[in-house]
Subunit: 418 residues, 2 copies
């Protein structure tokens, strides 16, 4: 089964918006075993949309058209599909009623041109709109099919998951359920990771189910996606669970989270389990560590606050850092202890370093020193991070969080509790 | 003149990487007056690359191919172009020498497969590689042309600006120089902004040179791009300068920067001009304000540090916030004054609020209160920001920076100087 993606909109061609929908759809199609050989962007031009659609239907069994379903005159995806189907557009009263009701529920009157969004090619079926005003469409063209979805990612994704994915799988005659889970790792390069789980890759190559895929995600580490097929969801999740256990047995603490769990989630959760609070002293990162730790809702149960001690004298005066070079182990240790005392927390975390563009205190760009004080047990770590100013700061932030995570994992709850 | 973009790479179709190159190229092509009607993504498959190339050449006078110029066996853009041209690939010794020299300059030996990057279709000319190992190619196909560039944005952009843009303009017979400048605005909706400069849009519609374009950029505000054409760069910049003056006369302090200048650049620069230092107290933003202020190199001349007072008792104890509701004008004012005193700075900035998902102190999600203390002159501002937790935090951060910017612009340097 082949399915192409056609993204509609002159603003995409002009670079005013980056088309992320095609990438998202490509990933979803691969996940359910559909080949996507071409993805095309075309502007709001009837002739060009029609010819792109016809060509895609020549090459593939299905096409997903994104965008051009809005209420204005330049939204002509409905017209283009009707032309390819060789049918008329008919206004669907039920759809119209839902659009009108959606406006009323927001206390607004429906503008006249919104009625166009209720136009449906004869023979097409509607994918009910649950997040916006435009419905999606399933449009048969001979044995083939064109799906139309809005260009708003939030609306498009919901329609794909609810209607298009299942429809494609039914057309493929797939009765199996496919599920997947992402293990998020930090600390190993992709090649090292692949070596570590080499025996699993071999075993799964033989069985073909589940499958593993590696996804590099920059400073957020490397994701390993486990995808399993089975007759029902329960069986499929069992396969995923079993493979996750196999991988975790090898990867251990390299895995910091699952699916959408971020590094800060992991750290906050570990602290909460121990009923510990956290304070952070930041120099080179300027507040990045705090901003990440407070991104999840509920961070306030654990994170009490921090000091951004950017100027050296602020470190000396408020954190009792000894006067001298501030990119040093001594400074990092004093910062961690100082902020723990200043803010009042079980754990103090600190980072000092040189983000560039020029060296500082005789230390080259990329030099970063971490400090950690858990109930008075103090340690420091020096590292040299690659990249430009922004990258050094980002890497320093996530490296510091990962360091704390590893210490919390090692810390025996039965041992000395602060 | 029409030019299509063809992005090569199976990883693009699988959604492992989002293709941002096409959007960037689309914007650049529009800027020099070239129509881009189609942008296509295709995988690392010779037959499909060749047929996509042939189709693009059927429809347009030029094609830019991005990616597939790497050293590995799945990098087959060179082979595909040679097939479309109907010629052989020949190894270019000069290119090979440059690749080898690049490896040597990094203290590494060139791997054998890197030699493939020196293969050039007969009749093509090379675009010298200055940032990577793969050269670009200019490949004539009859009267038409195929350009090949690496998929790495940093390498691709440099080659477009240096070689492809000028080549396209020469083919169009355009002798004029085109230049553009972006004015960055914050505080007005796009429609309001368009109304304000309506008289300029009308005047320019009549003359056609320079032109204006509006680019919405989320929390970073709205950009207005001025593009001018003239016989030489000096004349073109004169037109841009004149139009910038016209726009600034109407927009005044809505304009916070030009081209790549961010809001934090603007704030840091205004403070530096007055020789003032800054301290920030953050609650709801958790460190975001500090992290933005320290993103530019040289921030340390102005930004001394900040306190992330996330827990209420940290506000009471370290910032002398009076005990009581912390999402209040009283708290914001005390935070600004408190952090100014604690860190030691001319200006104290503060933000407290409710990012959600649930209300706090009886204040609904989105409530944000800013505090500002300039040398003892204290003011507060309450606002209600839209969106989810992340958006409220981001909006609060840039709104606070903009508030400070406006105050600094109003502050009479001749008046009371701290």
């Amino acid at each position: 089964m082949r399915c192409e993606v056609l993204a509609i909109g002159t603003e995409l061609l002009l670079g005013q918006i980056v088309d992320t929908n095609s990438a998202w759809l490509g990933e979803q199609l691969a996940l359910i075993g559909v080949d996507c050989h071409y993805q095309t962007k075309v502007g709001d031009n009837l002739g060009r949309i029609v010819s792109s659609l016809e060509q895609a239907l020549d090459r593939s069994e299905a096409v997903i058209v994104c965008g051009g379903l809005g209420p204005t005159q330049d939204d002509i995806t409905r017209e283009a599909i009707a032309e390819v189907m060789g049918v008329e557009l008919v206004r669907d009263e039920e759809v119209l009623g839902r659009i009108r009701a959606m406006f009323e529920s927001r206390g607004r009157a429906m503008a006249g041109n919104n009625a166009r969004q209720a136009d449906v090619p004869v023979g097409a079926t509607v994918i009910e709109q649950r997040r916006g005003t435009a419905p999606g469409l399933v449009c048969p063209v001979g044995e083939k099919v064109v799906y139309a979805v809005p260009g708003v990612p939030y609306e498009m994704e919901e329609m794909f998951e609810r209607a298009i994915g299942p429809d494609l799988r039914e057309r493929m005659g797939v009765r199996a359920t496919i599920v997947s889970r992402v293990l998020r790792t930090w600390g190993d390069a992709e090649s090292t990771l692949a070596e570590r789980v080499g025996h699993r890759l071999e075993a799964l190559d033989a069985s073909g189910n589940p499958t593993l895929a590696f996804l590099a995600s920059g400073i957020e580490g490397i994701k390993i996606r486990i995808t399993a097929k089975a007759e029902d969801a329960e069986q499929a999740w069992k396969l995923v669970d079993a493979e996750e256990a196999e991988l975790r047995a090898v990867l251990g603490p390299l895995v910091f989270g699952v699916d959408d769990e971020t590094m800060e989630h992991a750290v906050l959760q570990l602290l909460q389990q121990r009923d510990w609070t956290l304070a952070v002293a930041e120099s080179v990162t300027g507040g990045l560590v705090g901003s990440r730790l407070t991104a999840p809702a509920g961070a306030g149960d654990v994170f009490r606050g921090g000091l951004v001690s950017y100027a050296s004298d602020v470190k000396f005066r408020l954190l009792d850092v000894p006067e001298g070079p501030v990119v040093s182990e001594e400074a990092a240790a004093a910062m961690a202890t100082g902020v723990r005392r200043l803010v009042g927390a079980d754990v103090g975390l600190a980072v000092t370093g040189v983000a560039g563009p020029t060296e500082q205190d005789g230390q080259p760009v990329g030099t970063v020193i971490f400090g950690l004080d858990i109930d008075g047990a103090v340690e420091t770590h020096r590292t040299r991070l690659p990249g430009d100013r922004d990258r050094v700061r980002q890497f320093a932030c996530i490296s510091l969080l990962n360091l704390l995570r590893l210490r919390l994992l090692e810390w025996s709850p039965a041992g000395s509790t602060p």
